[in-house]
């Protein structure tokens, strides 16, 4: 009787056959994650507490100074953070709405559907850098085709990429263009997999199309939409490529988002410590946002169950 707990202690339950199999399954992923994400993050944290400018070999410990500098930097507080959140919210919302509309269109069978689907998926194919480069070219002050087109149809000519809000709107729209296909393709796959019965019931009730959409389709899609938004929102927070290529954060740092800010501090101002602190500050903010979003999404999933 008293032997049982002893033998159980000899073979701890944590490493039973099943647990060992679980650990085996995650071992490769955990190893890669540890060595190429966790370790760099720790090194980055270390660097953020030091005067790690590329020209200073001493790497003096400066404690929280960099963090204080970042969090009291008016550029970071008044421009970078608002920009980052504006980009995140507007890009995710607009791509979700357009993606949903396009998925609805592509769900139907019509002549040329495959062509449209291929065209809609184009942005997924093209590197964001290339897209952003083309947008920069198209909005070139003098030679840009869209600058000239807009002038022809009577839009007052502004320096599209040399003023804060016009260039920031271009950044947002470019991001929406790039990410709409991602929503489209996932929502299309989800729409095609929806059960038929609720629709037949709705048809018997003579529900309107809009009613069917809001009362049948949207609730059924809610889990997929929730996960899509979660994934995209996290990614949108760290947008770099489009902003870097389109404006480089300019004019005068007015369109910088958080990733660009950290990159500029580290590789343009050549202060790796300050850059790491900026990146760390962003990571902390993002972790809070991510956990909040996760709670919201979890609730959305439970409601729809």
């Amino acid at each position: 009787m008293s032997m049982a707990p002893v033998s159980a202690a000899h073979r701890p339950r944590l490493l039973g056959e099943k647990e060992r199999f679980m650990l085996l399954l995650i071992a490769p992923a955990a190893l890669v994650l540890l060595s190429f994400e966790v370790v760099p993050i720790l090194i980055g944290m270390n660097a953020s507490f030091r005067d790690w400018s590329l020209v200073n070999p001493q790497k003096t410990w400066v404690g929280l100074r960099h963090y204080v500098e970042v969090f009291t930097d008016p550029v970071f507080l008044k421009i970078v953070l608002p920009n980052t959140f504006i980009l995140m919210v507007s890009s995710v919302t607009l791509s979700l709405v357009f993606g949903l509309a396009l998925a609805h269109l592509l769900k139907r069978q019509f002549f040329g559907r495959i062509l449209i689907q291929t065209v809609v998926l184009l942005p997924l194919t093209i590197a964001p850098v290339i897209t952003a480069t083309m947008m920069r070219w198209s909005f070139n002050d003098q030679f840009g085709i869209l600058t000239n087109l807009l002038a022809v149809i009577g839009v007052p000519q502004v320096g599209w990429l040399s003023e804060r809000w016009p260039s920031f709107i271009i950044i947002i729209l470019t991001d929406v263009w790039i990410w709409t296909p991602w929503f489209t393709i996932i929502l299309l796959a989800a729409l095609q997999g929806l059960p038929k019965e609720p629709y037949e019931a709705a048809q018997i009730d003579a529900a309107s199309k809009w009613g069917i959409f809001t009362h049948v389709t949207l609730p059924l899609l809610r889990p997929v939409i929730a996960v899509c938004v979660l994934i995209r929102a996290i990614d949108a927070f760290r947008t770099f490529d489009q902003v870097w290529v389109l404006t480089g954060g300019g004019p005068a740092r007015s369109t910088e988002v958080f990733s660009v800010y950290a990159y500029v501090e580290a590789f343009v101002n050549l202060d790796l410590g300050r850059g790491a602190a900026a990146a760390g500050a962003g990571a902390i903010i993002m972790l809070a946002v991510g956990l909040g979003l996760y709670a919201i999404v979890n609730r959305a999933m439970e409601v729809s169950r």
Partner: protein, 288 residues
Amino acid sequence: MSLSLAVSSTGPRAQAGGFLGLLGVAGRRVFFALAVVAILLIFIGPVAILLLTSVRPPSGVYYIWRGWEFTLDNFAEVLAQPVVLHSMWNSFVLSSIATVASLGVTVGSGYMLSRFTGPIQRSWFGIIYVFRTVPYISWVLPLYLVTTNLGIYDTYLGLLLPHVAVHVCFFSWIMKGFFDSISPSMEHAALIDGCTRWGAFRRVALPSAMPGIAALAILSWLWTWNEFLFGLILTAQRTPVITVTMAQFVTETGTEWHLMSATAVLAMLPALLITIFGQKYVVRGLRM
């Protein structure tokens, strides 16, 4: 008579469709056609501008909508630069290996997340989620130091491993979804028949998840091919990648738009082919 027929055929829908219903059948057709045209314009537009710029001679590259001189010299010129073909080859090798490695590394992780419960599963899911939220810039900056110290900065390995690491969290999550949509009853049956856990995973669950994995493989290849920030920070002259090479057609006198566009078109082609031939698998695989 014909009028009443028309009305009765659109009647229920007309009540139903809100403002679209007010347009009537013909109106709705026109609206639909206009929407399709608008979509085509919006999505083809930037690509068309890119293509047009890439075939304009240096003299006609400004004001690309004027004049009719076209040339393929830009392509010849960028292809004559060794760095362009070299970067394309690097990107190709990197995307292919990174895709295989990422899928190989994460398939077990996703399976574990889907099939098991308990503290290990919960902690791993927490870890995955938390590290998913870490912005790339927060660990790519120090990765520069890591790869330099390991002596793999600006090599295949030094780019490949971070690329796999960046996929670990996201792909584990997606793979979990694939396995969630497959009923575990077949694996239970296999286990009862004396199959090992590993055998049940490899020979029963894995084949059922293949459509999803194929979809993810295509997306993974595209994402790696199109990646920019990693290439920007972790490569230099030795292992250039195509996205960074393309972005570097900027000289002191300004951007060489015609050469940049030609390079961009070249960079787009492989990805375009993969999308055209792979979209069927992507839509099918993500439906699971």
